[in-house]
């Protein structure tokens, strides 16, 4: 990553007549497009750039140097599980025998791809303690929505149409209530206890025959294991509801606890978190949804079904009659599945057991090493992540935002900030199992140094970052007068 800023836009490199592509000559140009009626054609060519190949390559290479990724440095972004993205994953997902397949090919010609789909869903099922997964959802939020659709389909199949509400803890990520609303469910909020776990006494009176189910993460957003989970699951089940597991925090569970064993009926997994597929600047992700036995009939279409015959097996793509419907054009983000399955095979059953414990060790090590300088609202053992409520010494007015920005100067990505909403100055740290003790020590040293700076020379922290490609942006101006295309940018002269 560079500290100098590369700020050109591709449109600014455009010169009329340049080209960055080569195509074969049209051998059939006697069949000319000018036969199309003019009123069906666009009046003007789109305002796309005209740039030569090397200029395009340099442009995006320079642009990439303004970016920070896991391969650049430590990325302790809480709740996002920024683990290492193994290179072998990339090699495998780019194999032409898979990338060149059309999704509507005859099953005879895609048996290898269908086996990847089937085996990955089966692997996730054994890891999570579920009966079956669909890999069709494109992201965690999409998985949540799909899971809630399963929940509603289950109640509808029993003719129970009173269940229109879903319970969500106040500490939950905003996506949970948003997914519920998209799915046509009303959200009921259950309060947290002072230690951040669900308040069972607050939950009890909420439970009646209008409750479709409850959404939870475990460990919760504070990195604390919900120790009353068995009781909560029983209460929800007794009132006829289903338990939904938000897989955002699955990483510390790998090897130790399976959501299906502790009372959850439906869950999603973020392959881009727990199963090492790259976040790609915000996607493509993949949000497989798993269900316990009895609910698989409601999974979205299409499904990959394995048929065993003597020594051989064969996969088909089928639509189920009780399915909730389709939530994707085809079978989901197949390229992401290739990566996740490579990761599972690379770890194997003997190593996957260490993922959770080592991620948890790293988190506790950082927490214990920093709790003298930062406010730790909830003590005790955490799982894969934990939350500080800002600096211990807030006397100079240095905020969590300032600490986050100052970290960038030292070559670290910032933790998640101002989430969860339970604390004013939340600073949420998640080091994954891939980080070495030396990396963690270097981060710990810098955090202590920033805490000292906040006291000794607060302006240094309050005006950070100082050596990044750009400084703090004017967010208010961006929202007040949104400039979202090059055309507008030229008009506004930015």
């Amino acid at each position: 990553m560079n500290n100098t800023y590369y700020g050109s836009l591709i449109f600014e490199l455009s010169r009329e007549g340049r080209r960055g592509y080569s195509l074969p000559a049209n051998e059939l140009k006697q069949y000319g497009m000018d036969a199309l009626p003019a009123q069906l054609c666009r009046e003007q060519a789109p305002g796309l750039p005209e740039v030569d190949e090397l200029s395009v390559v340099r442009h995006y290479t320079n642009m990439s140097n303004n970016n920070f990724g896991v391969d650049t440095g430590f990325y302790p972004l809480g709740s996002c599980t920024m683990k290492y993205n193994p290179k072998i994953n990339e090699e495998m997902c780019n194999l032409p025998a898979f990338t060149g397949l059309h999704p509507l090919q005859d099953p005879d010609t895609v048996q290898g791809a269908l086996e990847v789909y089937y085996e990955l869903q089966r692997s996730l099922a054994t890891l999570a303690g579920m009966k079956e997964f669909t890999l069709n959802p494109f992201a965690g939020a999409h998985g949540e929505l799909t899971g809630l659709m399963v929940m509603r389909s289950y109640h509808a199949s029993r003719g129970d149409d009173k269940r229109t509400k879903v319970i969500v803890p106040d500490s939950a990520h905003g996506t949970n209530p948003a997914s519920a609303a998209v799915c046509g469910l009303d959200v009921v909020v259950v309060k947290s206890r002072p230690d951040g776990t669900v308040d069972v006494d607050d939950l009890r009176p909420l439970l009646d025959d209008t409750i479709a189910g409850m959404m939870m993460t475990n460990p919760n957003t504070l990195g604390i294991f919900e120790h009353s989970i068995a009781e909560i699951a029983k209460l929800v089940h007794d009132c006829g509801g289903l338990m939904y597991y938000d897989g955002a925090n699955l990483n510390p569970m790998l090897g130790k606890v399976r959501p299906g064993d502790i009372g959850f009926d439906i869950m999603h997994i973020n392959l881009h978190k727990t199963f090492s597929t790259p976040h790609g600047g915000g996607g493509p992700g993949s949000g497989p949804v798993g269900v316990r036995e009895g609910l698989e009939q409601f999974l979205p279409n299409p499904r990959v079904i394995r048929h065993d015959e003597d020594d051989s097996h064969y996969y088909t793509v089928e639509n189920g009659v009780n399915s909730l419907g389709s939530i994707s054009g085809f079978l989901g983000n197949f390229g992401v599945m290739m990566r996740a399955y490579t990761y599972i095979l690379t770890l194997g059953k003997e190593n996957v057991k260490n993922v959770g414990p080592l991620a948890t060790l790293n988190a506790n090590y950082v927490k214990e090493s920093l709790k003298d300088s930062f406010e730790l609202p909830i003590g005790g053992v955490c799982k894969h992540e934990f939350v500080f409520d800002g600096l211990k010494d807030k006397s100079t007015g240095v905020t969590t935002l300032d600490v986050a920005k100052r970290l960038l100067d030292f070559g670290f990505h910032a933790p998640t900030i101002y989430f969860p909403l339970l604390f004013h100055e939340a600073l949420m740290i998640e080091p994954t199992e891939n980080e070495s003790r030396e990396t963690l020590d270097a981060f710990i040293d810098v955090m202590h140094r920033i805490a000292k700076e906040a006291h000794d020379e607060p302006e240094m922290v309050k005006t950070a970052p100082h050596n990044t490609p750009v400084s703090r942006p004017d967010d208010a101006q961006a929202a007040l007068k949104p400039i979202v295309t090059y055309r507008e940018l030229k008009e506004e002269n930015v």
Partner: protein
């Protein structure tokens, strides 16, 4: 210390109504604008839209937050404050001067259920 004006009616979601005959001018309180921070957008209804006491009629948006606007009274929108379209930050300058909608009230008795300045002051703990 937030500004609170005597003679207005307040509701718990931090909107006020200033009554002028059969009309009510509805906006957000100074306390609310302060909590939100720099307002960057106000989503307003259209003239002739109906509003219902306690129900949403629009939203105010700052960089980091967004909040629904709930009407303290029922009625018909007769005017929206168009100045806010170009300069939503006027709400931060003076939330009481820069009302959001003007409503022809349909049920004056609804005012009885709202807080007066003293009650609102107590409500926000100041």
């Amino acid at each position: 210390m937030s500004k609170i004006i005597d003679g207005l009616y307040y509701c718990e979601s931090h909107e006020y109504v200033r009554v002028d005959g059969e009309f009510g001018y509805i906006g957000i309180t100074d306390y609310a604008q302060h909590e939100l921070g720099n307002v960057v957008y106000v989503d307003m209804p259209e003239v002739d839209d109906e509003v219902t006491a306690g129900e949403e009629f629009g939203a105010v948006e700052s960089v980091k937050a967004a909040s629904d606007l709930n009407s303290p009274v029922s009625g018909t929108v007769v005017e929206v404050n168009e100045a806010l379209e170009d300069e939503p930050g006027l709400i931060n300058k003076d939330a009481f001067e820069n009302w959001i909608i003007k409503v022809q009230m349909s049920d004056a008795s609804e005012l009885e259920g709202l807080m007066d300045a003293a009650a609102y002051k107590a409500f926000i703990g100041e």
